[in-house]
Symmetry: C2
Subunit: 436 residues, 2 copies
């Protein structure tokens, strides 16, 4: 069969990795796919740099030239960001080309528009590389677990923050110090906002939620809390209580609606996912038939991400001759059968909590605190009061609650912070047992 022709938009980390993998494993990939997958053109910003990387590849600085090239079957979008990525992807679809993209930001924001356009034109938009790097998580959920009603997903889907949290725990260091070190080592970007504020994780979670439940992308409804306010103290106390703190993306189907939230989370240290360290990613998926399943691997990096891009290229190559109605639907469910479940506002979410407060060691303080919790319908699972440090008058009180409504917890915290014996804010970290 004649080779498939691929046009690359972007020849940076992932684009370069894709070219490397396609070249190095050319024979192995053709043995699998049944035909060769050839990159025939690439659009780059810097021609000289790209020339050094790919001396024989036709290059252009105009990405629309790749999109418009009638000789190209599949366009691989690896430039990132919203524009011109959106315009390029839509134009490629308009030209009847299949698209492979690693752009979670683009899909979380404009996925509905892009998939509708692809559906109209009968082309595929594949996006395995957008979540979990090289982990075939999109395929696992869309195709591997089709028997299941998915109940919930909880994932470590941002490597930078997982690296930072691992270092904070292992070295007892502060967020600021670890972030600086991570930037020096290249694990965090110069502007780390998207990572440390949880935005990147929320982009990915939006995609996972859509394919798990068959709902449109609703990034703007996600609750997003990063790790910037996390203290070494809470990491230490969590450890003492038998928990680890991870930045989790959680999406769950409840009778009231769908939860879609990214925040630091205490999870029992004995859970497999609690032991996913450094920059690695892992996604825990709970299906009603299969039970819990977990997928682990490198969530970023040139070749791991390229692994997902190339897997998509092979899939698209295989399915390009299939009846469009029989292909795997973009959001896992048939486009005319998407669900309209609402996304729950955070106040309506029910979960357990870790609360830490600093209190003067006086009679009646605990009674006041526990009464405020009881009044807000919050029951206590465990409590720990630390001895005051040398020369300190105040002590740390840590409370683990059973599942409670977030809005009730907000109310209780406001009450506790208003107590005269309490100094400073109450630290609140959500807690998930991930048991069932």
């Amino acid at each position: 069969m004649k080779p498939i022709h691929v046009g690359l938009l972007g020849l940076g980390t992932v684009g370069g990795g894709t070219l490397t993998v396609l070249t190095r494993n050319r024979a192995e990939i053709a043995r699998r796919a049944g035909r060769e997958i050839l990159v025939t053109k690439a659009a780059v910003r810097n021609l000289d740099k790209a020339r050094a990387l790919a001396p024989e590849l036709p290059l252009t600085q105009n990405p629309f030239e790749v999109v418009d090239d009638p000789d190209i079957d599949i366009v691989v979008e690896l430039i990132g960001g919203l524009e011109p990525a959106r315009a390029l992807v839509l134009q490629a679809i308009e030209r009847g080309k299949h698209v492979v993209t690693a752009n979670k930001h683009l899909l979380a924001k404009h996925g509905n528009e892009i998939f509708a356009a692809a559906q109209d034109k009968g082309v595929m938009v594949a996006f395995e590389a957008a979540v979990g790097g090289g982990i075939p998580i999109i395929k696992a959920i869309r195709e591997g677990l089709t028997a299941n009603r998915i109940e919930w997903i909880a994932g470590i889907i941002n490597g930078t923050t997982n690296y930072i949290l691992t270092e904070m725990r292992d070295k007892g260091a502060s967020f600021e110090d670890v972030l600086k070190e991570a930037q020096r080592l290249g694990y965090a970007e110069a502007d780390p906002t998207f990572d440390v504020e949880g935005i990147d994780a929320a982009h990915k979670l939006t995609i996972l939620s859509a394919i798990a439940f068959g709902i449109p992308m609703q990034f703007e409804r996600a609750y997003i809390e990063g790790i910037t306010r996390l203290t070494g103290l809470d990491v230490k106390y969590a450890e003492q209580l038998g928990y680890r703190i991870k930045l989790l993306g959680i999406t769950k189907r409840t009778p009231k609606g769908i939860e879609l939230r990214v925040h630091p989370t205490l999870i029992p240290a004995r859970r497999l996912i609690a032991n996913v360290d450094g920059a690695m990613n892992a996604i825990l998926v709970k299906g009603d038939a299969v039970g819990p399943t977990l997928y682990y691997g490198a969530g970023a990096g040139a070749e791991p991400t390229a692994s997902a891009v190339v897997a998509d290229l092979v899939d698209v190559t295989r399915l390009s001759t299939a009846d469009p109605n029989n292909r795997v639907p973009h959001l896992a469910f048939q486009p005319d059968r998407l669900a309209a479940d609402p996304i729950l506002p955070m106040g309506e979410v029910e979960t357990a909590y870790y609360l830490r407060m600093r209190a003067l060691d006086r009679p009646g303080v605990l009674a006041d605190i526990t009464r405020l919790l009881a009044d807000a319908d919050i029951s206590i699972d465990a409590m720990m009061q630390k001895e005051p440090e040398e020369g300190e008058e105040a002590v740390d009180i840590i409370i683990l609650t059973h599942a409670a409504l977030e809005k009730n917890v907000d109310r209780a915290i406001a009450g506790i912070e208003g107590l005269a014996a309490i100094s400073g804010a109450v630290a609140r970290i959500r807690l998930e047992t991930l048991g069932r």
Copy 2:
């Protein structure tokens, strides 16, 4: 689109689970697949028992009646064993029907014949449920990692033995005691041979090896060692040295050939896969581009296995109208491009070792042992000598070696066992760091 008609062979644990899942999640599955998947007939051994389970389903005691039914599109083989499963699958293929099977024994032994027949007739034989229960591991390797040259796979692919090993460690109990308890609880069968001798794991490993490297099924060349000779003592010493013992199926591509081996293995306790406990399964796959990836979930049970069977049904439904040449090849690689790499005999395999010997506490014993190891070209990574127990004259010596050739280790062990100061046999357990 009109519904797909499925005929079930067997309505036991997995067959019953498949019917349950297809019924309970009927709407969700149709939303995904774009058409309904209906079981229209089942062959069973006991009509009365089946009637209670599925009062409205047409039943027969003759499985060939299902295979020959022209109204049936896909035959699901869940009766297990070699015959009549083989004859039924071949006849279904001959009739132009697609087949879904969970039968690892059948595929490991007769997969080459079955896939060749399916290829000839242009039908699919899907087998996600044959390895790792509900974990979509076949899909991950065949489709999710197509970019990669797979380097090795190491898997906990038998739940019964993992349950036994977990209990031996947690309770300090002997193999025999835990096995009895596992039989009482239904985790182990009355005749546990296939599980505890590693045969079931070797069937599954044979399948994983074939799809990872694009080689024919070669079960008869697998090295198979079960857990029946494992002592609580070794489990304890391994723990003290920072390792866990797991029954691993390991297949690895080396310049000399392909390793295909099932045996108890020491692995560092900090590895994620070392923390997979109880009856759960996990498969660690190392690709050259993606690095290590891990897949975890329930390896057996009615609904987890049904999850894989139904995922196959949806896949086969989707691809049934596709050009047969564009479907995912049975062994992941195009049938005319399979590799002829030989399977390495165990003597040629290189790995690290845990050796335990009982020695009289005399001068010169260690010198004799270390000389024998050196003569066999084996270097020592760590050594531990336990104090003699009260009233005992002999002490346990544990040696961890660096990677060495198995045949050299055989020679050294024979020499050590010949020393006058050594009593009994040398216990030998292979050790893998699973690091790269």
